[in-house]
């Protein structure tokens, strides 16, 4: 992998830093050791701009654009951490935690490579975990009888990393966004099971999921750390 050449410099938190051609503010910031929080970002995928945790202040721009979808430009002046931004992010993160309830925030790292991201963001920003109580989103699919992937959407925060990795990395387009708004669910066609879809069980959706909502069912079974819903019997599987 060769990196694109440096394309210019901009001001980042009071520091003059260089950025590469086509690089987003978020990518440049991280490369320079500034940790901008995010949940929907996976640097292998096209930036999506859904979680908005990566919002920054850009001089001369109204509001707080998402740094993942904002291209770095020469002479831009960006602040990644102001008191107002921290406060907005903390409140937003409390909203995110409320989505599935704070009780299930801690998940087994065996669930997947990125499964700790939400917890880590919480540890970083320290939101009030008891605010914004209300209905929970997403419904798990314990009925999906495959031996590899646990679809525990009770933990899902609709970042669509799974859908995007399946399309952009695996080229498989097995899963999709169904419904809308708070009622959104990750689904295969006709709300069915993975094994009836075009899923190849490559597991990439599992590994990019920031909450453990998609989990490595096999590892959990092998390690017996947490009892995943039992696999249906052969007979049940046929029906």
């Amino acid at each position: 992998m060769t990196s694109p050449p440096a394309a210019g410099t901009f001001m980042l938190d009071g520091r003059q830093v260089e950025f590469r051609e086509g690089e987003s503010v978020l990518a440049a910031a991280r490369r320079h050791g500034i940790d901008v929080p995010s949940l929907c970002y996976d640097d292998r995928l096209e930036a999506f701009g859904g979680c908005r945790l990566c919002a920054v202040a850009v001089k001369g721009v109204n509001g707080f654009p998402a740094s993942c979808t904002t291209q770095a430009q020469p002479d831009m002046e960006v602040e990644t951490r102001t008191p107002e931004l921290d406060d907005l992010r903390r409140t937003l993160l409390a909203m995110v935690v409320s989505e599935n309830g704070s009780e299930r925030l801690a998940v087994d790292p065996l669930r997947g490579l990125a499964s700790q991201e939400l917890q880590e963001a919480v540890a970083d920003l320290n939101p009030d975990l008891d605010r914004f109580k209300g209905a929970t989103s997403g419904s798990s699919r314990p009925d999906d009888a495959n031996p590899f992937i646990l679809r525990d959407y009770d933990l899902c925060i609709s970042c669509y990393r799974c859908v995007r990795v399946c399309a952009e990395q695996e080229g498989d387009y097995a899963i999709t966004v169904a419904g809308r708004g708070f009622g959104t669910n990750i689904s295969v066609e006709f709300d069915g099971h993975l094994r009836d879809s075009s899923c190849t069980f490559c597991g990439q959706c599992v590994q990019t999921c920031p909450t453990g909502a998609l989990a490595d069912r096999k590892a959990m079974r092998f390690a017996q750390t947490e009892e995943p819903p039992p696999l249906p019997t052969r007979k049940e599987r046929r029906t």
Binding site: R44, A106, P147, F201, G203, Q204, D216, K218, A223
Partner: protein, 138 residues
Amino acid sequence: MTAAFEKTRTICGYCGVGCTVDVLTRDNRIIGIQPALDGPANEGALCVKGQFAYDYVHHPDRLRHPMVRNAEGVLERATWKQALRKAAAGFMQSAERHGRHAVYGIASGRTPTEADYMMQRFMRAGFGTHFIDNCSRA
């Protein structure tokens, strides 16, 4: 709820792509595999085999030593020397009886290029046949 586990960086053994993986172990047993985001060949991707097909390592049916069939056709434990002799004899017999093209070699998709080279020399120079292929050619 969460278990301690170790991560061992290695290369997936399944095919010639060479995806980098972290093998997750506890008490010296494999409990899972995770792709390496910094794997130069795979950048965090794996296929179903690399990701999930590791049961064989600790499987009771896994072969742990060579076996050959006895006169009754039942598999019995053997030494490598015995096993290779037996295999060589079988190949030679076929070639003698039916000609050099009665033998066909297929190299595994997991073999590196050097081993593939060895294999084709073995078939061409050894048996005198060009019936040699590699399963990952498809």
